[in-house]
C-alpha cells in the first residue's frame, strides 16, 4: 500500500487500447473489450481502498458507435456486464449517456439516476453512449451535471488527447498518459500516475 501526501478526489479514466491489445494477441479487434472489464474492477478496488471519492470511466461514446457492428455489440455488452458485476460491490453508480438513441443499452436505464450498492463507499460514473456535444446541448443544463470536476485523468494506450471526455469537468484536470494498453493494466500504473499527481501544483487556472 503506497502512501500519498495528496490524493485526487476524483479520477477520470480513459481505458484505451483494447483493440490494439486484441490484435497484438492474435485476436479479433472486438474481443479486446471483454478483456477490459477485469482491469476496471481491479482499478475500482484500488481506488476504493485508498479512499478516492469519485471515479469516472469512459465506457463508449456516440463517436465510437460508428465502428463496425460487431465491435459496437462487443463494447455495449462489455459495458452492461461491467455494471451487472458492480451490483454486489460498494459503490454509488451513475450511468451518463444519450438514452434517446438505440445505441444505449436498455439494461442500463435503471442506473441513469444514481443508485447505491452495498455501503456505497465510492461514487462511480460510467459514460455509456456519451457524446460531448450531447452533454453540452442538453436541455436545462449539462447532462453530466451530477459529475464533479475531475482532478486527475489517466489515459491508457499512449494517445495524448481527451477524445471528447467530459470537456467541462476536464478544464483544469491534470492528464497522465500511460503507454500500456488498458487490458494490460497493473496496479503500478495507477501508483505511477498518483506519484506524478502529488508533485503537481493545483492552480485551477489561477
Amino acid at each position: 500500500m503506497n502512501l500519498y501526501k495528496r490524493l485526487p478526489k476524483h479520477i477520470g479514466v480513459i481505458p484505451d487500447g483494447n483493440r490494439r491489445w486484441a490484435v497484438s494477441k492474435g485476436l479479433d479487434k472486438k474481443e479486446g473489450y471483454n478483456y477490459g472489464i477485469n482491469p476496471g474492477f481491479k482499478l475500482y478496488e484500488l481506488c476504493k481502498d485508498m479512499g478516492i471519492e469519485e471515479l469516472t470511466l469512459y465506457g463508449f461514446t456516440v463517436d465510437n458507435t460508428k465502428r463496425p457492428a460487431a465491435q459496437k455489440t462487443a463494447f455495449q455488452e462489455a459495458c452492461v456486464n461491467a455494471v451487472m458485476d458492480l451490483i454486489d460491490k460498494d459503490a454509488q453508480l451513475l450511468v451518463v449517456g444519450n438514452t434517446q438513441s438505440s445505441c444505449f443499452p436498455k439494461e442500463l436505464l435503471p442506473f441513469t439516476k444514481r443508485v447505491k450498492f452495498g455501503s456505497g463507499k465510492i461514487k462511480v460514473n460510467f459514460l455509456v453512449n456519451y457524446g460531448w456535444d450531447w452533454d453540452l446541448k442538453y436541455k436545462g443544463g449539462l447532462a453530466s451535471s451530477d459529475i464533479s470536476r475531475i482532478d486527475l485523468i489517466i489515459r491508457w494506450g499512449g494517445r495524448r488527447r481527451l477524445s471528447g471526455f467530459l470537456p467541462i469537468q476536464s478544464v483544469y484536470s491534470d492528464i497522465y498518459v500511460l503507454d500500456e494498453l488498458w487490458p494490460d493494466f497493473k496496479p503500478n500504473q495507477l501508483y505511477q500516475a498518483l506519484d506524478w499527481y502529488q508533485s503537481q501544483d493545483i492552480t485551477l487556472g489561477g
Copy 2:
C-alpha cells in the same frame, strides 16, 4: 526547413512558464511576460512559412486576473504590445475574450472582430481575458465560435493540462507538452511537436 507528411491545420499554443523563467533568471515574476512576446513572433513566422492555416495563442485568462496587480498589469501590457507588433505583419487577427470586464485592455477592442493585416496569410487568434465558462455561457452560442477545431495543442512549461483553454475546440486535439519554459522557445521545440503529431492517428473520437 523540415518537411512533414502531415501538418496540423490549426495549432493551439499554451505559452506557460514566464514567471518560473523570470525567477530562474533572478528577475521579478512579472518581468517574465515581456520575454514571452518575441518567442510568440518567432513561432508565428515559422508557422506562417510552413503554411499552417490557423494559430491560437493563450494570452491571459479571467482566472489569471486574480494574480497580484503588478503581474496583471504586466501580462495585459504584453498582450497589447504583441498585437501592436502584429499590425505590420501578414495575419488575420481575432482577439477573443470578455470585453465587458475592466481587465480587458481597451486598446484591443478594435480586434474583437477579425482584422486583416498585410496579405493576411494566416489566421491568428489571441485569447485575452478569456474564460472557458464565459465562452460557453455566451448569449447566442459560443463566444469563440469563429475559432475552428484545434488539431494540435503545444504547451510549454511542463504542465500536462488544458487550464481552461477552449474546451470545445480542444475535444479531439492532440496535446504535446514541452518541459522547456516559454521564454526559452527554440524552433526545434516546434519541430519536435510536429514530428510527434504526424505519427498520431486522427480518429476524431471514432
